[in-house]
């Protein structure tokens, strides 16, 4: 067999994740059979920054027969899979300005430590003092054999700046322990499939290495030849290992990423798509049950030139309500985020759940949220929460309005949905009334 043909490469590319013997092959996930007991559940938290445009976002009606305003239009065909929650507020107070708390207390429901980072107003602050809900649920899943996965959770980012502070971090594995998102799809690909890729490169040079060894064996004395023969044996063994890897395939082959998409503002649409493809793929191969998808950062200044908008997002969000041009642009921007969500939802909905009935969306709860309720007022009231999918068994297809309830109660409902029966989440004082009843 000639290893140098493209067939050979194709063959290697198709080699699945396996239990092959080489050490750099280890730590790969094995494909689980369908769960014997309990339904497989997943959680995705998607966040976009700088608040929404309330009048173009919230449905007027409550109940099952709710209306779709402009921003949520891209999701209309999923009406009966959706839950739109109005009236939830981030009530965490203390140090840090609204942006910092909007970001770093959104998933944690707990105060920031005092610190040395100064925002645009208010007192300086440090990292958050609690764990975020995604990590809480991930820990729960990882603690049990039947829901444990290779990574537990994956933190995706799109256009997240290369600095760590309370504006760029929303995931916390514990007090003072922020977790950064990976916003380079190639880096994420490496994390997920690097070993497969290494094997592919390795497979492509094994014939050449054997040729080299054969040629060189002729150059040395009989006494020394044994050493090179031993070496050649290992190379042959490596080839056998690689071929053995063929036995076990990925449920879904690794996605082919378009090469050379650099991490720049103008590539955000492309990167967003790549990241979502990687996320769904990782879910299909059961590498994780929890994921976050973070668009830029609090005070994010993405310039969405692909929508014909040249101004930075955060700058626009400060414009007053009567600036119609700015409002129009902000609606456009938020609609674009809804489209990203729709792309994710559609992808999950079109992919059959491995080893079970139905689609992957039937096993996944997605929530799209925001650091602020509204940009120009920096309010933490009425934070957008849009849920899609049936992972946690909520009663979907509704629009609900609450009366300024602490959002901690929503995260309690998420934990309970994940069979993790917490008494409170984040600041216990903000948990009065217990988990929201969404079932």
């Amino acid at each position: 067999m000639n290893l140098r043909t493209s067939n050979r490469r194709q063959f290697l590319r198709d080699i699945g994740l396996s239990t092959a013997a080489l050490p750099f092959f280890s730590g790969l996930p094995s494909l689980r059979a369908a769960q014997a007991s309990g339904k497989k559940q997943r959680l995705v938290i998607m966040i976009s920054p700088n608040g929404t445009v309330p009048k173009a976002f919230w449905p007027d009606a409550t109940g099952t027969d709710f209306d779709f305003k402009e921003i949520l239009k891209p999701l209309e065909s999923y009406r009966d899979r959706m839950l739109v929650l109005h009236g939830l507020s981030n009530k965490v107070r203390g140090d840090g300005d609204s942006h910092m708390r909007g970001m770093s207390c959104l998933l944690t429901g707990k105060e920031l430590f005092p610190g040395n980072i100064q925002g645009g107003s208010h007192t300086p602050a440090g990292w958050c003092s609690g764990i975020s809900i995604d990590q809480e649920i991930k820990n729960h899943y990882q603690s049990r054999e039947e829901s444990r996965t290779r990574f537990g959770s994956l933190e995706f980012g799109v256009g997240v700046p290369d600095r760590a502070d309370p504006w760029t971090r929303m995931v916390y594995s514990g007090p003072n322990k922020p977790v950064g998102a990976i916003d380079d799809p190639y880096q994420m690909f490496n994390k997920l499939y690097g070993q497969v890729q290494d094997r592919e490169h390795l497979g492509s040079i094994l014939d050449d290495l054997q040729t080299d060894l054969k040629r060189l064996k002729g150059m040395v004395s009989a006494e020394d030849r044994q050493l090179l023969e031993d070496h050649a044996d290992f190379v042959r063994a490596m080839e056998t290992d690689l071929q053995a890897a063929e036995e076990q395939k990925l449920h879904h082959a690794a996605p082919e990423l378009e090469p050379g998409v650099s991490d720049t503002n103008d590539n955000i649409p492309e990167i967003s798509r790549m990241q979502i493809d990687l996320m769904v793929n990782a879910f299909a191969n059961d590498m994780a049950r929890v994921s976050t998808l973070q668009y830029t950062n609090s005070v994010g200044q993405a310039r969405m030139r692909w929508l014909g908008i040249n101004e930075g997002h955060h700058g626009l969000s400060h414009e007053p309500d009567d600036n119609e041009d700015a409002q129009k642009k902000l609606v456009k921007i938020n609609t674009w985020f809804a489209e990203q969500l729709a792309y994710l939802v559609t992808k999950l909905s079109n992919t059959p759940e491995p080893g079970a009935d139905g689609s992957m969306l039937d096993h996944t709860t997605i929530v799209w949220t925001n650091e602020l309720g509204k940009g120009n007022s920096h309010t933490l009231r009425n934070i957008p929460f849009v849920l899609v999918g049936d992972g946690f068994g909520f009663e979907m297809g509704r629009s609900l309005k609450f009366d300024d309830e602490a959002h901690n109660r929503l995260w309690m409902a998420f934990a309970h949905g994940a069979q993790h029966h917490v008494e409170s989440f984040g600041n216990p004082k903000l948990c009065q009334g217990g988990a929201l009843d969404l079932a």
Binding site: G115, G126, P178, D208, L209, S221, L228, H231, V235, S262
Partner: protein
């Protein structure tokens, strides 16, 4: 290889058993001894299965035979008969010379050792980066800002800080110019480490910081930018190679915190958590170094030195994993390493050709010689197809090259040409690949004469990585390169804590460095010098006057009390028990490593059990009692006097006058290898003996040769050790001159000017 066959033939010496005494001895041996000891002294199973070899003189041997042999009737082989048998077996198989003759060694094909592998990969990648200049200044470049950000217009002070160890309290670092509520400081430079191993770095502060170390990206090693005003010390561990400088940058700021302080700390291998000392800091920049993180299985050291004599599956996997790691690094930094514009949009039209040329250079540097046309096609060009992205092609090139025997076995190419010569020099002297000047010599062949080679070797020996290799040798020679717990009983030896132990290790390496890198580089000084390097803590521990500060200073001792490395506390503590001294460990170490004597393993393993003895006995009395049998005394007559000579030093190397309540008795009679009796009154007598003993010199030379070359010295001819010994004596025991001589001799052993046989091996691939 033909050359080796010739060498082996040359090794077979003329030896003369024509001598009638020896002939009679042979007949007697065959009749009375061979039944139990075998025809060639190899031993006989169920009789006496130990081979007969050792370092006794003929006279000594004759006495043992006269007294004890044959064991069923010692009187049957006595006087002249015993002398004849002794003369015969000494000549035929007992002595070291006879053994070397009977088992001619050859130059084996060896692979890179793990250390050589790591060094070679670092050299390979570094050869495409800029080279930092030697820097005399110490400390880090500091810039102080009157703002929480490092704004250029707010910079108020620029200077070199010797260490990063500041406690500003509530005040400003520069009152009047910089406010106390908000300020920033940036320290930049490089960090030179001497030892290979895991280094744990930490920053202790209540404020914000980012620490970058050997960072080839913008990712900090530790990111503590956000803080809550509470004192923290986050840590991160990285593997570093000795003899390299690593870029370091610390960005620090205070904003509204109550107080401000910052310490840059590390815990080096064998060390303790401490402020990074000034001596390791340089205010100038250095490029990042590619340090393999892949763990390798340990190399063979059964012959007393580390060598790449065997390949195993675990090694094969490590090679593959290391090749992947390197391929990844090269592909990620391709634009930098191949000197391409950073932005892809500015890519030159001939980018593919440029990357191919880079790959060819890389492969040829990895192989330590130019590539043939066939090589170029095989290793580089065929991987660049139209549908293969550049980074994938580059990865394949690196993967193939770094797994090729041409990289892994530096001696593989049969050509004894100038490329072989320069690659040997770099391998012997610093375990790595030829540097730019050596490559030039390889290309143009200007290293013709032995003198020219010596000059190059001397130049290379100044390189920090070569110094690191020499340092490793001394630690190996003194048996300090293995992990060994030196802690002692806290009740008996209060104050001998981890920090004291680490300081003593540093004190020892300072002493060795001081001797080796001084003008005279005197081996005898290593044994006879009466200086110790001490800081305040160590001086205090040894009860030696009052000193202040952490800085080490050279302190002279009474030459009667202390003598060179032999009495260095670190070494004495290494060869001691938890609660007491160990004259046996100390004696064995001195006999083998310092005096070059050969000792057989004990006939039966007897453990020294302190509790077994009457507690009123001294250590000397206990050891004497334990080893009093004739079988033990074969070797312990050598071991014990050496060990007893150090009884004035307790388990921590401190001088003592009494063992329990009895005064110390360090005096013994000692039999030298040439059959003399020597009265030893203390360590200085042992040191003086070693400093003037040809056996000790030869032992030292052999250890050094094998450490550098990774081949047995006898494989280079039976006379090699003699030649090197003569040179060593002539140079007044100059260690560096010896290293240069070893490298030159081993590198040129088969060069055309040394041997007429190599004409068949004209290089074909140039």
């Amino acid at each position: 290889m033909l050359l080796r066959v010739f060498l082996i033939l040359l090794l077979i010496p003329m030896h003369s058993w024509a001598n009638p005494v020896a002939q009679r001895g042979k007949a007697l041996y065959m009749k009375q001894c061979a039944e139990c000891h075998g025809d060639k002294g190899e031993g006989v199973e169920d009789e006496y299965d130990e081979p007969l070899y050792g370092d006794r003189t003929v006279v000594d041997l004759a006495k043992v035979i006269h007294d004890t042999m044959p064991d069923y009737a010692p009187e049957e082989c006595a006087d002249e008969d015993a002398q004849a048998v002794a003369a015969y077996i000494h000549e035929a198989f007992y002595s070291a010379e006879a053994r070397a003759r009977n088992r001619p060694v050859r130059i084996d094909l060896v692979r890179l050792t793990a250390a050589q592998h790591a060094q070679s990969v670092a050299d390979l990648v570094a050869s495409f980066r800029w080279q930092p200049k030697a820097e005399a200044a110490r400390g880090l470049q500091a810039r102080y800002y009157d703002d929480r950000r490092t704004r250029r217009d707010k910079m108020k002070l620029e200077r070199v800080d010797p260490t990063i160890d500041f406690d500003f309290g509530e005040a400003s670092p520069l009152p009047g110019e910089i406010g106390e509520e908000a300020f920033a400081i940036e320290w930049t430079g490089s960090l030179m480490v001497e030892e290979t191993g895991d280094y744990q770095f930490s920053v202790r502060t209540e404020n914000g910081f980012k620490l970058y170390l050997n960072s080839d990206t913008d990712t900090p090693l530790i990111d503590g930018w956000v803080s809550s005003g509470e004192m923290v010390e986050p840590k991160a561990t990285v593997k570093l190679l000795g003899g390299w400088a690593y870029p370091v940058r610390l960005e620090y700021f205070k904003f509204k915190d109550k107080s401000a302080s910052v310490e840059l700390r590390w815990k080096p291998p064998h060390g303790v958590n401490e402020i990074i000392p000034t001596t390791t800091l340089r205010p100038t920049a250095a490029p990042p170094v590619m340090v393999l993180q892949t763990p390798f299985p340990p190399d063979d050291r059964s012959l007393g030195y580390v060598r790449g004599s065997a390949v195993s599956k675990a090694w094969g996997r490590a090679v593959t994993s290391a090749a992947l790691e390197t391929a990844d690094h090269v592909a990620r930094h391709l634009r930098d390493l191949a000197d391409l514009p950073r932005r892809r949009s500015e890519a030159p039209e001939n980018e593919t050709e440029k990357i191919q040329a880079f790959c060819e250079t890389l492969v040829s540097r990895a192989f330590r010689r130019p590539l043939t046309e066939e090589d170029r096609e095989h290793f580089v060009r065929q991987h660049f197809c139209e549908d293969t992205p550049h980074d994938v092609a580059v990865k394949r090139v690196v993967l193939l090259a770094l797994q090729s025997p041409q990289f892994l076995f530096p001696e593989l190419s049969p050509a004894a040409d100038s490329w072989k010569l320069v690659s040997r020099l770099s391998t012997y002297l610093y375990d790595g690949l030829p540097d730019a000047q050596l490559r030039d010599a390889g290309k143009k062949g200007w290293l013709g004469s032995a003198d020219a080679v010596r000059k190059e070797a001397a130049r290379l020996l100044d390189h920090p990585t070569a110094r690191a290799k020499v340092r490793t040798f001394f630690l190996h020679w003194l048996h300090l390169d293995d992990e060994h717990d030196l802690t002692k009983d806290h009740q008996l030896f209060p104050g001998f804590d981890a920090s004291t132990i680490a300081d003593f290790r540093q004190s020892l390496t300072l002493f060795i460095d001081d001797v080796v890198w001084s003008e005279r580089s005197d081996y005898q000084e290593l044994l006879l010098g009466n200086d110790l390097f001490l800081n305040a803590d160590l001086a205090n521990f040894l009860g030696h006057g009052t000193m202040t500060g952490d800085t080490f200073r050279k302190v002279s001792f009474d030459p009667k009390a202390r003598s060179g490395v032999l009495t260095h506390p670190y070494l004495l503590a290494r060869f001691a028990y938890h609660q007491s001294t160990s004259p046996i460990h100390r004696g064995v170490f001195m006999a083998r490593q310092v005096l070059g004597r050969s000792l057989k393993p004990p006939p039966e393993a007897i453990e020294f059990d302190d509790a077994h003895f009457d507690p009123s006995l001294t250590m000397r009395q206990k050891v004497t009692d334990l080893t009093k049998s004739r079988a033990c005394m074969n070797c312990h007559s050598i071991i014990n006097p050496l060990g007893f000579s150090l009884e004035h030093f307790d388990a921590t190397g401190r001088y003592r006058f009494r063992d329990r309540h009895a005064p110390i008795d360090p005096v013994s009679e000692f039999g030298t290898q040439d059959g003399r009796s020597l009265t030893i009154r203390g360590p200085r007598d042992v040191a003086v003996h070693a400093a003037h003993s040809p056996t000790a010199h030869r032992g030292f030379i052999q250890h050094l040769f094998e450490h550098l070359v990774k081949q047995p010295v006898n494989a280079y001819g039976m006379n090699t050790l003699d030649t090197l010994h003569q040179d060593f004596v002539a140079s007044q025991f100059n260690i560096r001159a010896l290293i240069v001589e070893i490298a030159t001799l081993a590198a040129m052993h088969d060069s055309p000017s040394n041997q007429a046989t190599s004409t068949d091996h004209e290089p074909k691939n140039l």
